[in-house]
Amino acid sequence: MIKDITLGQYYPAESVIHRLDPRVKLVVTLLFIISLFVVDNIPGYALAFLFLAFWCGLSRVPLRFMLRGMRTIFFLLLMTVVFNLFLTPGTPLVSFWKLTITREGLRIALLMAVRLVFLIVGSSVMTFTTTPNHLTDALEALMRPLKRLGAPVHEIAMMMSIALRFIPILMEETDKIMKAQMARGADFESGGLIRRARSLVPLLVPLFISAFRRANDLALAMEARCYHGGEGRTRMIPLTYHARDRIAYGLLLLYLILAVVIGRDIFGLAAAIGGLPV
């Protein structure tokens, strides 16, 4: 049940994407997401699809893994589609009972769905191919300019990596406590809302206590190894750009230019060719 959440899970494999510098992956993901909101026509989405397919293909993460993450956002997707489909004013296309599907609604609903799916798949490639530690390293490196403004960049990155590290530990702990209480006759599934909420107390109290205990132990262990924050701290594996990273940046730039040119139809090409669907 808990194991179904694949969003944000590392998938070990040997691929170019796995070897890319995490900063590159973070920048690619961010700009790709932004590009999805810049393009607003079908050729633009086709381009985004090509880019995404290329990106996914290189990562060697099985497609079913990526799609498994979709299950968690299925309802969000469904709601978006339904609301856009029925609530967008415009030229009526089909209408039954009190509901009307408009041409504009259909278009927006479809584009929104595609946009969401691309967004999730695009960002899951990053989390599938990058360990949480690399990811926070990249975040720290990219946020470094904010340090001048007095932001505790290193501390934020450290907190994030600890939080990420603790997710599987706490899930395991939850499973263990749940079983222990079930062995004492606990029932987490039946009863009304209030009864069910109350039945969580024997789960949550031990979970919180264990989280505090672990946090305490970790703090002690870090202090025992003389951790004192980011000042003057060097890295065991410093982040350095390689040729493949530069190529990736180049391809990203090319994609972005094309996305703006095609996706926004800057030169009016679509109109010139004679009314490609917009």
Binding site: K3, K176, A180, M182, A183, R184, P202, I209, S210
Partner: protein
């Protein structure tokens, strides 16, 4: 109650990336009034096995029978099973949650549908059995010492009045005194109340002292199942699995190799080994 494992298989992450075969074709019977030791290396499937006994995990194939009834039949009442099979997890004190000890121990009986009064009665008697005095009943479980916390948690399971008590590494992390208290408790429950006890432990000495029958798991398979002495006579096989025979027996075998060829080696508790050594010395 007689609990039977009928060719049980279990696979973790059956539909995911890397399936792990945690239990392979486990076939065994836990009879009434037995004291069974369960040993095996980390990851050998001990925890998985005992969770099956309590109906917390469902076998991928095979059946688990409680007095002949399949516990995964649709009509079977697994909650009632969990009362009859008391499972004490590793570090059971981590599951304490109530404001005072007495209410925490009442949690199990209350879940079984006992009245508040009966739950209280059962809790008081369970706490007495584990040696927690009445003066502590109103205290927060978090203010107790490590050994007291563990005994309170065990009382939480005993209050459900199980017929089979499964203890998973009940002495882990306790000082020698706490350890002795827990083991003495297991023995008393077995001898005076005729409760079936299954003791999971890393300590061969503890197992040797108490268990009459020994189960050895290796890589999810039941490698040995027999009287404790007989299982410990398979020294080479056990050591190959990363398990050691009890120290007294090792001492006797070393003596046999180094100048006492006559000495018996069939003893696995310190007392028996001492007797054999004395007998050998008297001969000289």
């Amino acid at each position: 109650m007689i609990l039977r494992f009928d060719h049980v298989n279990y696979v973790y992450d059956a539909d995911g990336g890397q399936p792990v075969h945690a239990l392979s074709d486990i076939d065994l019977t836990i009879g009434e009034g037995e004291f069974i030791g369960l040993i095996g290396h980390t990851g050998s499937g001990k925890s998985t096995l005992i969770q099956h006994a309590d109906g917390l995990l469902k076998p991928v194939s095979g059946r688990i029978l409680a007095d002949g009834e399949d516990i995964w039949e649709e009509k079977f009442d697994r909650k009632a099973l969990r009362a009859r099979v008391g499972l004490v997890f590793q570090y059971p004190e981590h599951q304490l949650f109530e404001e005072d000890i007495l209410s925490d121990v009442c949690y199990g009986p209350m879940n079984l549908g006992c009245s508040a009064e009966e739950a209280r009665e059962r809790a008081v008697s369970a706490l007495r059995q584990v040696g927690i005095g009445e003066d502590l009943f109103g205290q927060s479980p978090f203010d107790l010492s490590g050994g007291q916390k563990r005994r309170t948690a065990i009382a939480g399971v005993l209050a459900m009045q199980p017929e089979i008590l499964i203890l998973d590494e009940p002495t882990a992390g306790l000082d020698p005194r706490g350890r002795d208290e827990i083991l003495a408790l297991a023995r008393t429950l077995h001898e005076e109340r005729n409760i079936t006890v299954v003791l999971v432990s890393h300590s061969m000495e503890d197992i040797a002292r108490f268990a009459k029958r020994l189960l050895v798991l290796g890589d999810g398979r039941l490698v040995f199942d027999g009287p404790t002495g007989e299982v410990f006579s398979h020294r080479a096989e056990l050591e190959e699995m990363g398990l050691e025979i009890p120290r007294p027996q090792r001492l006797l075998e070393a003596l046999k190799e180094h100048g006492f060829p006559e000495i018996g080696t069939g003893a696995y508790t310190a007392e028996e080994a001492a007797r054999l050594i004395l007998r050998e010395l008297e001969k000289r």
